[in-house]
């Protein structure tokens, strides 16, 4: 059995109101220590208000080859974006 500490991915909420963002990885023996290590490694310059960690092997991801089928269909649905609709200026801010 390998004795390397597992790899964790770290997500930090930079300010109240923002989403957690991936900031990097680290090693830790368990989740509790991973959170503490994340605090010590990734918030040295006051960067966060909340930390998530997840063991890297638990992350499921899209395969690079699927990029076309997964993401391109939404490119043609321009009506989902607010700028698609011309609203007369007199109506005011919307």
């Amino acid at each position: 059995m390998s004795n390397e500490w597992p790899l964790w991915e770290v997500f930090i909420r930079g300010q109240h109101g923002l989403s957690h963002r991936h900031v990097g990885s680290l090693h830790a023996p368990d989740a509790e220590m991973a959170i503490k290590n994340a605090r010590d490694v990734y918030t040295r310059r006051n960067e966060g208000v909340s930390i998530w960690v997840v063991e890297a092997r638990h992350i499921a991801a899209t395969a690079p080859g699927e990029k076309g089928p997964l993401f391109e269909p939404s490119e043609s649905k321009v009506y989902r974006h607010p700028t698609f609709f011309d609203i007369p200026e007199e109506v005011g801010h919307m």
């Binding site: 004795n3 990097g24 990885s25 680290l26 368990d30 220590m33 490694v41 395969a63 690079p64």
Partner: protein
């Protein structure tokens, strides 16, 4: 640089005709500045070269803690102690970010560390020089980190996504390093005659090792072509070295110190400073393990790792026990 003399895993650059379809698509992405991400297809040689380069860069950060760490317990004021400790701690952080980037290529941190400890991977030549007086701490931050920044700013544009992102994060933190270094040596250069003597001594000793950090002259550098084509390397050794010399010479003059190289002269025609070539035989000696501190640096790193084995094992074993107890309770 922090990654010097990186041997590209293959020799010579393939022409488009020699490339497979996949390789052509890959090269197109690089040419169009589309970043390569961990799960994207990449040539084996690209992966191998990157692991070597990022690994060496990471090792340099961690070994680089030692020469400056040498003065943490002797820092002359509480504020200097805090600044230096924070700075050396940042180097550990940079090592960590870079090992993480290498890990996305499928090489574990422990494996890279093993290769370093077995002498099968290298770190930057600069960290095999000693820090002998307090002004060295200023000079290292200013000259060594200054040289590193020149390279790392260029590397923010490197083709491999995780490496590029690590560089961006590191560059943000590094500018603090160069500035604190210059601030520290300013105090020395403008201080008592004894302090000024230390500052001059530091600059004299560290100048050539610092400009050697960029690696051999382009004419003697055999591994660059493929790395440039892959945008693993973004500017040539000589280009970066010149940039560093140009920005640093006026900073030495501002301190009122003698220039460490009588060959330094402004060249109106080139619009750059001329300077003497360092003694490259010394550089190759250091790379081969014969620098003033090679043996001490590696001994210190191996000792830290070996002494820490029981700690890493102990905490991991506790995590396993805890997980097992949790399962048993459910």
């Amino acid at each position: 640089m922090y990654a010097q003399m990186i041997k590209t895993a293959r020799s010579g650059v393939k022409t488009r005709e020699e490339m497979t379809e996949q390789e052509r698509e890959f090269q197109d992405k690089i040419d169009n500045d589309i970043k390569i991400e961990p799960r994207d297809w990449m040539p084996d040689d690209y992966r191998a070269t990157l692991i070597r380069q990022i690994g060496q860069h990471a090792h340099s950060e961690v070994v680089g803690q030692l020469p400056e760490g040498n003065w943490i317990t002797r820092a002359p004021t509480l504020e200097r102690k805090a600044i230096l400790l924070a700075k050396v701690q940042d180097e550990a952080g940079h090592g960590l970010y870079l090992y993480s980037a290498a890990e996305t290529l499928g090489e574990s941190r422990d494996e890279l560390i093993r290769l370093l400890h077995e002498g099968r991977m290298k770190y930057s030549s600069i960290f095999n020089y000693p820090t002998l007086n307090w002004a060295d701490i200023g000079a290292v931050g200013w000259l060594v980190d200054g040289a590193a920044i020149v390279n790392q700013v260029a590397l923010q544009r490197t083709s491999y996504g995780p490496y590029s992102r690590a560089m961006i994060r590191i560059c943000k933190e590094e500018s603090f390093h160069a500035r604190q270094g210059y601030h520290a040596i300013m105090k020395m250069a403008f201080g008592t005659p004894e302090q000024k003597r230390q500052a001059q001594d530091a600059v004299n000793r560290l100048w050539f090792p610092a400009i050697m950090m960029f690696g051999p002259n382009d004419s003697a550098s055999t591994h660059s072509e493929q790395s440039m084509a892959w945008k693993i390397k973004v500017k040539s050794n000589d280009e970066l070295r010149q940039q560093f010399v140009d920005q640093t010479v006026p900073q030495i003059e501002y301190l009122g110190l003698d220039l460490p190289d009588p060959g330094i002269k402004w060249n109106e025609e080139r619009g750059h400073y001329d300077f003497s070539d360092p003694d490259w035989s010394e550089f190759f000696d250091v790379i081969k393990g014969n620098g003033p501190c090679n043996v001490d640096r590696m001994t210190a790193r191996r000792k830290a790792w070996d002494d820490g084995q029981w700690v890493r094992d102990g905490l991991l074993e506790h995590a396993r026990k805890k997980a097992a107890r949790k399962v048993a309770a459910e």
